[in-house]
Symmetry: C2
Subunit: 644 residues, 2 copies
């Protein structure tokens, strides 16, 4: 059964929580990032991404500067800017985009090649460093941008450039004599090719995506180039597994290696599986997803436990202070979950997607939208993070830009295309995965229907969904894993529903004039980790609905780890005016008395006398570090339960 | 007041605990290390240290191999081998030593230069890399070896070579035109020069030591060469503070930088202070010692919290799994404490010295003496340690040798000269710092006295000290910080004593025929760390007498951190036959039920139902990893006290 994709234009976000972030992205962040990409933002690290294309196009003099994949920063920005036009038509931005695309066209070589690093710096070295050269990665992002631009504006200027580029790649890569039989060092092109296939209907895009997905780990490419230790061993930082090339996907047991690469790979593979209907590929992805989520994911939806190699390590290795948990990796996890939902509408995928989006993804951007985290640890002691060599990837405050700036434009494009995450369709069934306020249009054989969803999420478990138009919609509403007392009403009347794969199936299709009200309780809860996670033994996290909460020094005291929570005591919820209005939490417990210890005294017999009863205030994790530098703690030491 | 040094020959260790280790060092380890140094031990990393000297001497063909300071491995071995002759005359070993010394003499350049790296590899680069070249470090170790060989055998062959070498250094380094006005990148020569001064009475040795100690951080040497960040900042890995060169010693606030260097520096500085009587230098050392012990020392007597730079980091930063806590650094701490005792007989110095010797120092060597730890972490999960990049310096089992093999011969020389740590003298007062069985000879103005000490330490707090000979001894007996019910008897009669600086001052001098019996209780105790140490918040260590205890997987279960101790319950002591007889401990508590969690399930609401009452068996820390690879845990999660 062919599933129906929901385009970015079909669902526009309209709510206070995400809507405000998207408005900020559209009005401030996209212009800000454009200034950065043009090297016109004071105080931000130099990007040079636009300049590289201008030089390659012969419009400016100069040399290539930046990372080997610098082009992709621009590509992600174009993609985000294109999606932003859904929310606000902006002639200046559109003309900037057209001009930029013309420049890319001028930079493109007659044979279709577009990567400015190789054009400017190593013209004779094209396609010689498949493992680390990032040419196919850059193409992937620019192709995603092209599809977005085409879908939003109807203009095919960039898509034509990229089709020519893909045709070149098709002539260079593949099985058979004279071709490079390999696959990208950094996955990304696979999912972009499927997007291009869906946008154009041209099979060649899908075929190339399928080739890259199926070929990975199969031909003796990276294993030979990168080396991979003996059977059963792992590489520690780099190696074939760093590129998910240690085995063909159906034989891979776990998400290994570079976390962003792994997420993008599985996303692209799921896209291929959806289009081809390959059940064994789908089964492999289901297994990999289960293992990743069940053994290697932080409670914030972060993945990548180690800075060296920005990668997965081993099962249950989830250090809270030295983790990498890159913003882009959490975006990748959300993307993968969305594809799994398209393959198989099961609410567990939406639970994880929501967890990633509401926590690790948006912790990557400051409230004002102009400062970013690349790395999103769950515990930070600023002095340690600044001083210790093994914390060197941790920033203690969000920064304006990065030399390697994959994350900032990735957040922007994700926000501006967030509508695509809200619903999935399987034939006539429409699954609402996220209770985000939105207006959506669905076209069916019987006509068109518009759904308008208003919600108080993530603060309260309430949503009102009204239906307008001629078509009936078989709406299925996700019952979040954390929801208690999940109720549905229509026009004030309780609806009886059945539950299938974690979704409420209504008693009948909804149609013009129907208003469905969803309500559920979101009780703040103490969450424990599997005891195989040494870092979290004897600790609890506090979660309310989709949000993980955290303690910040500014609300509490120094040495946050001196606190021990008493989980028998209730968690207090409190409407707070912070950050324009949030639900803050407070937990009860006690803390070790630092003042009882001389500063020059490290060890003494343990005694009972030194704990002080106190409260710990908590805010949503993603909001941390918006009030200056200080300690962060997510997993709180716990006293354990005493009640039976 | 000039204090009286106690030579290695004056105190010979005779007890089951240390005596066995020394016997093993003398009979097995020194021959084993000699084979390694000669590249004749299969399976051990290649040393090449002897070959380098033979090549430099023109006796063999070849090239220099090894670290830039490879010579020092040989030097430490010579020193240890010389001391070993105190325990066992060995004509073969003595002839090997003489032959080796003749080779060193042949390798020595006519002007006195001896460093084989520069002789063989960069003859034109002598004295050009003072920060990292290690020439003065090598001289220091070879000079210590020369003094030891001279003191034990009366032979001055190596001492003459080294005096010529020191004369060269005196001509090269110093204030004034044409000289290099600097100080060693790796301290060591300072303490060796004071030893040479004491052995020969030649002032020039002391003067050079004083110059190096006083010059450090004063002349713009390393600050300019190495860079040091803005006022108040620290370098993270390398920088002037790495070499303790960020300020003159009297202005240094903390032990900074490379831990072994810092310890050797403070040791040499204390030696200089003792000989010169400089009170301000002594005061600086007292302050530095207090800060180091009070903020930056592991409970095992380990120092150096970080692998990168093998160095100190910041106050209270004491990670248990990624620490460096190098064996050599703990030896250096014991050396420094011994010097502080000579400067000022206060038992606190002996408490720390004993802590280092009984824990971090001897954990560096296996029970059979042939395998070594360089790094001595307090917590190890083998799979994590093998896989995670930030654990790369951690070995999960002791190894036969190291490419950089500073530690193994350092342990050997320390064991064979352990007698020097037992007593210190201040004029007529003799302080017994350690209750290690020994025979000691003290010469006073009224004659000679021999003390024979028999003891059951570290298992029981008992010692019997008998006095023989013509001299009376004003014996002062350390009251260990952990001792309870400290009692002294003489011929069965209780002695009343006064306490001064933590030492029991007897009612009268002891003399021929007196037998003093010392007894005290050593109760196993739960120890807490200062709550500023985030790593240890809510945890306890278990200590009995000088020994820190630890949990090993082999005695308990996997996932040691699932255990939570109930400190209200008594610690059970148990004589065990393990390792030839030890006191083992067991503590009560409960552990999280790993089996209650699916392997693919990371997070779920915390509940009360999942802790299983159990016992945790503990053995002395230094004995860990003598029964195969497995988890190690020293700081146990604690339930807290509930009794009032």
């Amino acid at each position: 059964m062919k599933k129906t994709e929901i385009g970015a234009a079909d669902v526009l976000i309209r709510d206070g929580f995400w809507g405000g972030r998207i408005k900020n992205a559209v009005e401030n962040v996209i212009p800000y990032q454009w200034r950065v990409l043009n090297d016109k933002e004071p105080g931000a690290a130099k990007s040079h991404a636009v300049a590289n294309y201008k030089i390659a196009a012969g419009l400016e003099q100069g040399e290539f500067e930046g990372c080997i994949f610098q082009d992709s920063d621009l590509a992600k920005w174009i993609e985000g800017a294109a999606y932003s036009l859904l929310y606000k038509r902006d002639p200046k931005l559109e003309s900037d985009l057209e001009e930029m695309i013309r420049t890319i066209g001028k930079a493109q070589r007659p044979d279709g090649y577009i990567d400015t690093y190789y054009i400017l710096k190593e013209p004779d070295k094209r396609w010689t460093n498949i493992a680390h050269g990032h040419e196919l990665y850059v193409t992937g992002h620019m192709l995603e941008a092209a599809v977005a631009y085409y879908q939003v504006t109807g203009r095919d200027s960039l898509l034509n450039i990229m089709e020519k580029n893909v045709d070149l790649i098709r002539s260079v890569f593949g099985h058979g004599e004279g071709k490079i039989d390999s696959y990208p060092g950094h996955e990304e092109i696979e999912l972009a090719l499927v997007k291009a296939y869906r946008a154009t209907g041209k099979e060649k895009f899908l075929k190339l995506a399928e080739y890259f997905v199926e070929n990975r780990g199969r031909v003796p490419g990276f294993q030979a180039e990168e080396g991979f230790p003996k059977e059963g061993e792992r590489s520690k930082v780099y190696g074939a597994d760093y590129h998910q090339a240690h085995a063909p996907i159906r034989e891979q047991e776990d998400a290994e290696g570079h976390a962003v690469r792994a997420m993008y790979f599985f996303t692209g593979a799921a896209d291929v599986a959806l289009e081809t209907g390959d059940e064994s590929l789908k089964a492999a992805l289901e297994r990999l997803w289960k293992r990743t989520i069940g053994r290697r994911m932080y409670i914030t939806g972060g993945v990548g436990s180690q800075s060296d190699g920005e990668r997965f390590t081993i099962d249950y290795d989830l250090p809270n202070d030295t983790c990498y948990t890159e913003t882009c990796a959490a975006i990748g996890l959300a993307m993968w979950c969305l594809r799994m939902l398209r393959l198989s509408p099961e609410s567990k995928y939406a639970d994880v997607m929501e967890r990633a989006l509401y926590n690790n993804v948006i912790s990557g951007i400051s409230q004002d939208g102009e400062r970013y985290f690349y790395v999103n640890p769950l515990a930070v002691e600023p002095e340690t993070a600044k001083y210790r060599a093994d914390h060197s990837s941790v920033e203690t405050s969000r920064v304006k830009w990065f030399g390697c700036a994959c994350c900032p434009p990735n957040i922007t494009r994700t926000l501006c295309s967030l509508g695509t995450y809200v619903y999935t369709r399987a034939g006539s069934e429409v699954y609402q995965n996220l209770y985000i306020g939105n207006e959506a249009v669905f076209r069916t054989e019987s006509g068109e229907a518009k759904l308008v969803c208003e919600t108080e999420m993530p603060w309260e478990g309430r949503a009102k969904i009204s239906c307008h138009g001629s078509a009936g919609i078989d709406l299925r509403l996700r019952i979040p894993s954390y929801a208690e007392d999940f109720r549905l009403t229509r026009g004030g009347e309780t609806i009886t529903y059945t539950v299938k794969n974690g979704y409420a199936v209504l008693d009948r299709a909804i149609s013009d004039g129907d208003v469905i009200e969803v309500s559920f309780q979101m009780r703040a809860q103490f969450i424990a980790a599997n005891p195989r996670v040494a870092e979290d033994c004897g600790r609890v996290a506090v979660v309310r609905g989709p949000l993980v909460y955290c303690a910040e020094q500014v609300d509490n005291f120094r040495y946050l780890d001196t606190f021990r929570v008493s989980p028998d005591e209730p968690i207090r919820e409190e409407k707070s005016d912070l950050f324009g209005g949030i639900v803050a939490l407070a937990v009860q417990g006690s803390r070790l008395d630092v003042s009882a210890w001389d500063e020059d005294d490290l060890y003494r017999p343990a005694d009972a006398a030194s704990e002080i009863p106190c409260e710990m205030k908590l805010i949503p994790y993603f909001l941390w570090n918006n009030r200056g530098e200080g300690e962060l703690l997510t997993w709180l030491r716990s006293n354990g339960f005493h009640r039976p």
